[in-house]
């Protein structure tokens, strides 16, 4: 384990009348605007954090609706033309017996986005209520959302590769559907939402208000 020393009672940089740089950890007097170590902009707290979180989250949730309603893949073969949605694609894989891959697709394109929406809503509401409960759990949830969110993009890349690869004029072609665009937008918006969340707010509830 590490040995970063700490004062008897843990205090925040803000309580000590200081402002910390989120990029490099350097501490400055509270009026400082630009970090002299890394030239980053200093902000003790991002006061508009929650506003941005909600805005991006709502945009992400709206984009997720057409992503599920419209086809993700347009397949045409000699005999038929078919369209498959996100869920449809996962079900098809499962019917072919590819359970492992079906699970990956289902987790990446349904479980992760849904879980992320709920996790961000929970984080934002608990901060607004200045909750003191389960801060370690909430911080873990924040880290998980930041880490896992990008993996939803798998489905968009699968569509990209399939439509590039399966272009055999008459026998079979696969083309991307409109849902691929809205799904990608949904992932991007929710990533921006998670990045706008200022995790320091989770830990502020029992600190002296200023």
């Amino acid at each position: 384990m590490g040995s970063a020393g700490h004062d008897q009672a843990l205090i925040s940089a803000r309580d000590a009348g200081l402002v910390a740089c989120q990029r490099c950890g350097q501490v400055h007097a509270v009026q400082t605007a630009i970090c002299d170590r890394c030239e980053g902009t200093l902000r003790s707290r991002d006061t508009q954090s929650l506003q941005k979180v909600w805005a991006w989250l709502i945009a992400g949730m709206i984009a997720y609706i057409p992503a599920n309603l419209y086809p993700m893949l347009l397949t045409s073969t000699l005999v038929e033309r078919s369209e498959s949605t996100i869920i449809g694609g996962a079900v098809e894989l499962a019917e072919h017996g590819a359970w492992g891959i079906a699970t990956i697709v289902f987790v990446a394109s349904v479980v992760i986005p849904m879980g992320k929406f709920m996790a961000i809503i929970y984080l934002a509401i608990s901060v607004q209520r200045k909750s003191r409960e389960n801060r370690h759990g909430r911080h873990k949830a924040y880290e998980a959302v930041e880490f896992i969110g990008r993996w939803s993009m798998i489905d968009v890349f699968v569509v990209a590769i399939l439509s590039a690869l399966v272009q055999l004029d008459t026998i079979a072609t696969i083309n991307p559907g409109i849902a691929a665009v809205s799904f990608a937008l949904s992932v991007i918006f929710t990533m921006l939402s998670a990045q706008s969340f200022d995790s320091r707010l989770i830990w502020d509830a029992d600190r002296t208000p200023q």
Partner: protein, 209 residues
Amino acid sequence: MSATLPQLDDLVACPQCDTLHRAQSLPDGARAHCQRCGIVLMTSQPAAIAQVLSLALTAFVMMIAAVSFPFLTLDAGGLHNATSVIDAVLAFNDGYAFPLAIAVAFFIVVIPLMRLTALIYALGPLVREQSPRNGARTAFAFAERLRPWSMAEIFIVGVTVALIKVAGLAVVTIGPAFWAFAGVVVITVLKDQLICRYSIWEALDTTKH
């Protein structure tokens, strides 16, 4: 209150919960965690910067290979289709999906290359024990900011899923670019594991030398 505080340079604040810690020099290989929220604040690996730089250079060369060579080839019923990484990007180039083609190009090729270039630019002189280049701090901050948007590893998992989807339909041959791309992914993960932001910022800080 500030009278009881040590020098500002000896303090480090957790970027995720704002808790103040006193910075101490760590024994080699040790990690310091935030006492409150538990994230890793700093690690001590004296050779890390040189390793990060060499891994970044390797990944850069392999990335060039990954976009130049054939990636996957598909054969079915006498028809043949070879795909490069660029073709995968261009899959979205018709009409409404065009912005997505640009986004995919950025996520899997352009952003990873920009990150590598910025890291090589920022860390190069440090390894030769020279003072950092102009703009080295901007370059490193840029590389770190782009980190979540660099999705090469997600792309490679997507490729695997796609391969299994078409495996029953046609014969797929894996080209050299696939292995180069997989190599880039492994090297990038190793490199990002080694980056200790705190130590690199300290090394890039010209005002304190």
